[in-house]
């Protein structure tokens, strides 16, 4: 697992309007009073402060693509029609992980227990969005590293549960990223715990490395 590169203490740039969108905010129609907007902003900031964001990735060679199967160098088989399509010009894959740590879920659960559901729902949406943006950061970082080698990442990434890249395949990505080392467990239904954790895969193409 020495191939896994870790990025800690991250403060990713994120798109706040996506947090509002997760909460059903409609730019043209939703009216927010000043105090409500202030409160939402404070809660987003609180989520940001409570998250302990870590990103990680490893780059693996692709053995072959046999749609819908994508077979990695170590024999790991992933399957998904759109995943295979995404990887079609690639010779390597990048497996990524992002986690916001356990404190954020403790906060969300405590707020719910105290009946402060409106606060919980904003923090929950913010935590999801911000954790997701860690993967954007990982991809930007890797792209920058690849650029000088004439290589580039696919624009999109897929997480298990997307289309026919089913959630069961979370097990494979979890194993490849050694999720346990990041304090993440995988339950029988293939859910990551703490919940604000995400795994994903993207492809790398361009000039072939030796």
């Amino acid at each position: 697992m020495n191939d896994i590169k870790i990025m800690k203490n991250l403060k990713p740039e994120y798109n706040k309007s996506l947090i509002y969108a997760r909460l059903g905010f409609d730019k043209k129609r939703t009216g927010l009073s000043g105090p409500m907007r202030d409160e939402a902003e404070k809660l987003i900031k609180k989520a940001e402060n409570t998250l302990n964001l870590t990103g990680a990735y490893r780059i693996m060679n692709l053995d072959r693509i046999d749609p819908p199967k994508v077979i990695l160098e170590d024999g790991t088989v992933l399957s998904g029609v759109r995943l295979a399509e995404l990887m079609k010009d690639c010779d390597q894959a990048i497996i990524m992980l992002a986690t916001g740590g356990s404190k954020i879920m403790e906060l969300i659960n405590r707020l719910q227990e105290e009946g402060r559901m409106s606060e919980a729902v904003i923090i929950d949406a913010a935590a999801s969005e911000i954790t997701d943006s860690v993967l954007d950061m990982v991809m930007l970082h890797v792209n920058q590293m690849l650029r000088s080698k004439g290589r580039v990442l696919t624009k999109m990434r897929f997480s298990p549960g997307y289309g026919d890249f089913d959630l069961e395949q979370q097990r494979e990505l979890y194993r490849l990223m050694n999720g346990e080392a990041f304090g993440i467990t995988l339950n029988e239904a293939c859910l990551l715990i703490p919940e604000k954790s995400v795994l994903a895969i993207a492809g790398i193409s361009g000039n072939r490395p030796k």
Binding site: N9, M117, M145, E168
Partner: protein, 808 residues
């Protein structure tokens, strides 16, 4: 080349740098996957040809082909042992290109990222990074480079490590360009904070390269220009990369690329070049475009600039007053002292956040606890503060060793608190401020003690400044401490401080600070004295103060004096902060929310603070509880639902309405029960759960809350619930509906299982389901009803129960 000669190079002209190297090496035959530095050193003629082409195109400075030639990066190819030799050879090759071109070209030793992240983002320690770069720099120096360029840096701290490495080995000029992903570098630095940090640390030119095309770089240069003391560099890519037949291609042709030269120069660039995808032809076109262009003259803002790696604070008499948080100083603070002794950095982190949230723009950090390792503790505190907040810091210590350690690792431009006229401080600490480019607080005391009069203090200020000026400091680099002593022991002391501040503003033209609370030491009601003195000092021109930002009265004084002294133009910040507060309603002022006048209004506004009182008042007025429900509560929650449905409210507003409703019901229900014997006019019983294996329950909890609001009896079984328990509960309570939630594809299949047991058991109830991955087709496939949001779930439940009552 001396730094002076380098500076002169930019006099009245635009300096031309070189362009991309990687793609040209590939075109020259470099195979995929090899170490470019090693290959270039072996195929030196091909490299010389490329560099010659750049010189012929007009490049006045060419970079050595040593982008990745640091030991950590070379280790990817098993070549770290060759670092010195490779760098020396590649520098010599560049020199040869210059010589054969018969053109006087400068050779810049190229340094870039080691490819691994530094602490705190990764595992490379700061000193390890410095040593890594030093190995490379030694090779480049042996190869005879004229200057250095540190380029394509994503992390300001790594750029700092490289600058320190250069400075500790030679006096050659050094240019630094960061790479920006939009508005910030990947690790979060904005262009101004990067500029301030780098130019203070000794970079002789600063700018940006790679990632963006020329159009995107215009704004980055424009942002930096008002604060730049050094020439600015723009070295963009030839547009955005795209893939063609498995190869990365940059599309922007030389003419289009060069068409941005004028705009970049207008924005403030002093040097232009190209990065990925650019060729000698691109540089030739830029050379033609800049022939008639001169660098723009600009007036640099006379602000004192301190920054973290993510944020710059500007201090000046025309800008809003800078509050420096005082609470990270353990003197007289038992809890902080204990936290520092036990190493409880969470406490430090909380204190940092609390102060910044209350309005502190900078934070004073002090680890002066007797008996602890000050250096270690101070470093821990500073690392913690950097991680918790964006505010820059004042390093409050007289321990030179601890100070140097923090200055070395602080990823921005810190302020040293303080340097006085004492000989030891001048000798030890002023050179540290110089080496690391820090600002400092100038404390007007000397070896003979604390002068009582303003005149004596002014003499010390002049003397210390003169010594600092000789080292290259300007007045913008200092904050003069007005030196506040308590008026309890000397009635004139506050007036003497005000004289110093006035002199600094009107004559000396330097920014000022004070440790505010000293003024009232030993007096009762200290807040009033502090607050009054602060207003007086600001009126005299004080630009910052170390105070407790969590003291409301003090912060109100700050905001008010900013408005009164026109630092807050048109009082916009003041109005923004206080316009929601109503003096006549202290209670609501605390929360910034308006008090609702009726129960209906309170639910619409989600006003949980007022609703219980309003519900009690409604009962006291003698209105029957049933009428309170029917006339006010139910219409209000229905209205909230409509507002949500029409997207005039977003989800938190819907929930806040429901929360207010719940509070009102808690007051009304007991009376309703006495009145009618029926707690809530039960519309029906619903057993709700998140299915087995699924741990996401926030959506289910919202639905449960709303269903209760709308008069259903809800039995919430929680998350990860076994099918058998759901069925047993539904049976025991004669439920009308079983409501299930599942967020994932792996757990949604539990739903049909519950349905099949339900049928086997002969339960007559309906099933409604919801969750991110479900749809009506899936629900319909096993006879359940689907809903995709909380309010629609209420509507669905009402309709299912009505159908059942009507025999549907």
């Amino acid at each position: 080349m001396t730094k002076k000669e380098f500076k002169k190079l930019f006099n009245n002209r635009i300096v031309l740098l070189d362009g991309g190297m990687g793609t040209l090496l590939q075109k020259a035959g470099m195979p995929d996957g090899v170490c470019p530095e090693k290959w270039s050193s072996i195929n030196s003629d091909l490299l010389t040809d490329i560099q010659k082409a750049y010189i012929q195109a007009g490049s006045q400075i060419i970079y050595t082909a040593t982008f990745g030639a640091n030991p950590i990066k070379l280790s990817e190819y098993g070549l770290s042992e060759e670092t010195f030799d490779l760098n020396k050879t590649l520098a010599e090759i560049a020199r040869k290109a210059s010589e054969v071109s018969m053109t006087k070209t400068l050779i810049a030793g190229d340094i870039s990222s080691c490819g691994s992240l530094l602490v705190p983002f990764g595992s490379i320690e700061f000193e390890e990074a410095v040593e890594n770069f030093k190995t490379q720099i030694k090779g480049l120096l042996a190869g005879g480079v004229d200057l250095f360029v540190i380029e394509t840096m994503m992390d300001l701290q790594e750029a700092r490590a490289a600058i320190i490495a250069v400075k500790e080995l030679c006096d050659l000029p050094v240019m630094v360009t960061m790479t920006y992903e939009g508005r910030r570098t990947l690790m979060g630095s904005d262009p101004v904070s990067a500029l301030v940090t780098l130019q203070s640390l000794g970079a002789d030119a600063v700018g940006c390269n790679c990632s963006a095309g020329p159009a995107e770089m215009v704004d980055i240069i424009r942002q930096m220009k008002p604060y730049a003391k050094v020439p600015l560099i723009a070295k963009p890519n030839a547009g955005k990369p795209r893939l063609e037949n498995g190869r990365t291609v940059f599309d922007m042709d030389p003419e289009s690329f060069a068409s941005y030269a004028e705009v970049l120069v207008e924005a403030g660039a002093n040097a232009l070049g190209g990065c990925c995808g650019t060729t000698p032809e691109h540089i030739r076109k830029v050379a033609e475009a800049v022939t008639c262009l001169k660098p723009v003259k600009h007036e640099r803002k006379p602000y004192s600039l301190a920054c973290s790696n993510r944020k710059t604070v500007m201090i000046h008499t025309t800008l809003p007053f800078a509050v420096i948080g005082e609470r990270l100083n353990p003197t007289g603070k038992k809890a902080l002292k204990e936290a520092l002794i036990s190493g409880d950095m969470d406490y430090v982190s909380d204190l940092a956040r609390e102060q910044v949230e209350a309005g502190a723009m900078l934070l004073d950090v002090n680890a002066g606890v007797p008996g602890i390792n000050e250096k270690e503790t101070l470093v821990n505190m500073v690392n913690t503060v950097c991680n918790a907040v964006d505010a820059p810091i004042l390093i409050d210590t007289s321990n030179a060793e601890a100070l140097e350690q923090v200055l070395r690792i602080y990823p921005g431009r810190a302020v040293i608190n303080s340097i006085s006229g004492e000989k030891a401080k001048i000798e030890k600490i002023l050179p540290l401020a110089k080496k690391y480019g820090a600002m400092f607080v100038l404390l007007p005391v000397d070896d003979s003690g604390v002068p009582e009069t303003a005149e004596e203090r002014i003499e010390i200020i002049k003397d210390v400044y003169e010594k600092a000026r000789k080292l290259g400091f300007t007045k913008e680099d200092i904050l003069v401490d007005g030196l506040v002593m308590t008026i309890a022991s000397n009635a004139e002391s506050a007036l003497e401080t005000l004289k110093v501040i006035t002199w600094c503003k009107n004559r000396f033209k330097a920014n000022t600070t004070i440790g505010l609370s000293n003024v009232s030491f030993g007096l009762p009601s200290r807040e009033q004295i502090n607050s009054a003195f602060l207003s007086m000092a600001v009126a005299c021109g004080l630009t910052s103060a170390i105070l407790n930002p969590n003291n409301r009265q003090m912060m109100q004084s700050v905001k008010a004096t900013d408005a009164l002294t026109a630092r807050d133009k048109n009082a916009l910040a003041y109005i923004g902060q206080y316009s929601d507060q109503d003096d006549s309603a202290q209670n609501s002022a605390k929360t910034g929310k308006k008090t609702s006048k009726t129960l209906y209004e309170a639910i619409i506004n989600g006003d949980a603070a007022s609703i219980e009182d309003l519900a009690r008042q409604a009962l006291i007025s003698g209105k029957p509880p049933r009428l309170i429900m029917d006339d006010e509560l139910i219409p209000a929650i229905q209205k909230v639902g409509e507002l949500y449905e029409s997207k005039k409210y977003f989800l938190p507003q819907l929930i806040r309405g429901a929360e207010a409703m719940e509070k009102a019901m808690a007051v009304i229900s007991p009376e309703l029960e006495k009145d009618s014997g029926n707690i809530s006019g039960n519309k029906g019983t619903i057993v709700i759960a998140t299915v087995k294996g699924d741990v996401h329950d926030i959506g289910k909890n919202i639905v449960a809350m709303l269903l209760r609001n709308y008069g259903f009896k809800v039995i919430d079984l929680g998350k990860d619930v076994e099918s058998s328990r759901i069925i047993e509960t539904a049976k025991a309570n004669n439920a009308d509906i079983i409501a299930l939630s599942a967020l994932m594809t792996t757990t949604m299949n539990q739903m049909p299982k519950v349905m099949s047991v339900m049928k086997e058991e002969g339960l007559a109830c309906e099933m409604m389901v919801g969750g991110a991955v479900l749809d009506s087709n899936f629900a319909g496939s096993f006879g359940a009803h689907y809903t995709n949001d909380a309010y629609k779930a209420v509507k669905l439940a009402e309709s299912l129960i009505n159908q059942s009552k009507n025999g549907g």
